[in-house]
């Protein structure tokens, strides 16, 4: 049986009924990796030995009838900016090429106590800065739908590994769209939770007021199952919100009658591929057919979100990345004096895009420019958030495209600004700290389209409900790639 093709909930049932063993499942997943990894290149590190040992261990516990966690025996891929004790964590950077964390991120502790099995660390844009995974210092990951195209980014490895059935689910991080856009490009479900829902402890920091960890899954039910495990307050992350999170599976309801869905007009029209727009309009028509009330609305400050983000995120990054000085960990280039050592270690450790963002952020925070750039951007951020506050007085959720186009070809966005524009539909959500779900909805030119559902703070439930209803009533959300293309 092709176990790697199944979902978490399907596998849980097979495991519970003892129709398969965890070892069989794990071996099947690694066989799949052997078959397709040469083409897709999702992983920076594989942890086969540890995974097989863990599988045997969980099988033994199952045989003894011990109570196991909610994700018992399920193989997972982890983005390589999430610290894994004893397993190299590189952030796809030369700076951390040899970094082995001495501790686990909180999400890793949670996955371990849920008895999930890590199969490896997934590729990404260096320090999560990028929208195509081309900025990995090691190699690019390819889109399983067409190996000549990018998988999106920055969590491209996580998205590609789920889409090509190399893992059953994966974790990524989203600062400006880094879960949702690759999920859309690869045709899988991705969720960026509300800021403060999932602990960031052990997530290597990019922009601390925007970063959030979330799941990549094959369907909406699996998304809810993973959310149940990874959410929760954490003493080690003072920005994790001290509140009880719901059982997310309670929102898997096939009914959206009377639900009010806002369609912000700024996310359509100029700059959006007509094929993508047509597909999103089809999804809206489907939701109306299922009883939802869709209505156009306006988020007037949308066009200012992207420029504000590209000041705020680099500003926070320039501060966060100051820690890489070649003293305690990371690359060191030896020099006679300590300042030259810092300057050279950072020059050789960081790639072009990372350097650009450090420079941009440092400039925006520097004396004389702070008010003109950074403070201005923070004020605009408030206006972007207030737009959403007003829209949610009237609507239960909002629906937009995830990205202006389907996955593009390698090296086609060489100019930094053209790459930054890939994030126009996803960035405003991070600025406002809201939850947003990326759901596949059909194909354009043989490539998956993603629709974005945006919710009120801590209302992931409504997003799951709308996505689940769509999934139950159309085939457009269930997409499987063919691993075609030359891959050059």
């Amino acid at each position: 049986m092709d176990l790697h093709k199944l979902t978490i909930h399907e596998l849980r049932e097979l495991l519970a009924n003892k129709e398969i063993s965890v070892l069989e499942l794990t071996e099947d997943v690694f066989k799949r990796i052997d078959d397709v990894e040469d083409k897709v290149k999702s992983f920076l590190t594989l942890t086969k030995e540890q995974a097989l040992a863990r599988a045997k261990d969980i099988d033994e516990k199952l045989a003894k009838g011990e109570k196991l966690g909610a994700l018992a025996g399920i193989p997972v891929g982890i983005k390589d900016n999430i610290c894994t004790e004893g397993v190299r964590t590189t952030c796809a950077s030369k700076m951390l090429a040899n970094f082995t964390p001495p501790y686990n991120a909180t999400v890793m502790k949670k996955l371990e106590s849920a008895d999930a099995i890590m199969v490896g660390k997934t590729n990404m844009d260096e320090f999560a800065m990028g929208s195509s995974t081309e900025n990995s210092a090691f190699f690019p990951t390819r889109n399983p739908w067409n190996l000549d195209r990018v998988p999106g980014g920055s969590s491209g490895g996580s998205a590609a590994s789920v889409a090509s059935d190399e893992v059953i689910f994966a974790l990524g991080s989203d600062t400006g769209g880094s879960i949702r856009q690759p999920a859309a490009f690869c045709g899988v479900v991705g969720l960026k939770p509300t800021y403060g829902t999932v602990s960031r402890y052990g997530l290597i920091a990019f922009a601390s007021s925007l970063d959030q960890i979330g799941p990549f899954t094959k369907d909406v039910t699996d998304c809810a199952l993973v959310m149940n495990v990874i959410t929760g307050h954490d003493d080690f992350d003072s920005t994790s919100v001290p509140m009880d999170h719901p059982d997310y599976t309670k929102f898997l309801i096939n009914d959206i009658k009377g639900m009010r869905i806002g369609i912000p007009k700024e996310y359509f029209g100029e700059g959006i591929d007509p094929g993508v727009e047509a597909k999103i309009k089809e999804a809206i028509a489907k939701l109306e057919e299922l009883g939802a009330i869709a209505e156009e609305c306006s988020l007037p400050h949308t066009e200012y979100a992207m420029p504000a983000y590209y000041i705020i995120a680099p500003a926070e990054a320039s501060s966060n990345l100051a820690r890489y000085d070649g003293v305690r960990y990371g690359l060191r280039v030896e020099a006679e004096d300590v300042l030259t050592m810092f300057n050279r270690s950072r020059a050789q450790g960081f790639g072009t895009e990372v350097k650009r963002r450090i420079m941009l952020g440092t400039y925006a925070l520097s004396s004389g420019y702070y008010d003109a750039y950074y403070l201005k951007a923070l004020k605009v951020r408030n206006l972007v958030k207030q737009d959403f506050d007003r829209a949610f007085e009237k609507f239960d959720c909002l629906l937009t495209p995830i990205a202006p186009s389907v996955a593009f070809e390698f090296r086609s966005k060489a100019d930094p600004l053209s790459m930054y524009k890939q994030d126009v539909c996803t960035i405003p959500i991070n600025l406002a700290g809201l939850p947003a779900l990326s759901l596949p909805y059909g194909l354009v030119d043989g490539m998956p389209v993603g629709l974005q559902l945006i919710g009120k703070p801590f209302d992931e439930g409504t997003l799951l409900r709308v996505a689940y209803t769509l999934e139950q009533n159309t085939d457009e959300t269930r997409l499987k790639p063919v691993l075609g293309g030359s891959g050059r």
Binding site: F99, Y195, S238, Y310, I311, V327, S366, L417
Partner: protein, 94 residues
Amino acid sequence: MKITMQDVEHVALLSRLELTDEEKEEQLVQLNKILEAMEVLNKVDTSNVEPLTHVLPLKNVLREDEYRDTLPKEKVLQNAPDQEEGMFKVPRII
């Protein structure tokens, strides 16, 4: 505002990045392009708007000042590029 080569060199120093001449040129061109795209923000009237640093209603999250276990020294030092007698070692500073 256009940034100059002098600005690039000053920001590189603040950023602790040793850039080649070629990289400086590239940074000069790209940063100016990016900052030009940011000019659009000046169209927005923000005179009565508070800056928003983060979205949470949390403020000064504190915990009891009590002992907690920390990582053992050998784990803290396991990734050090250079060390001596249980300390991080760096080039001579004074």
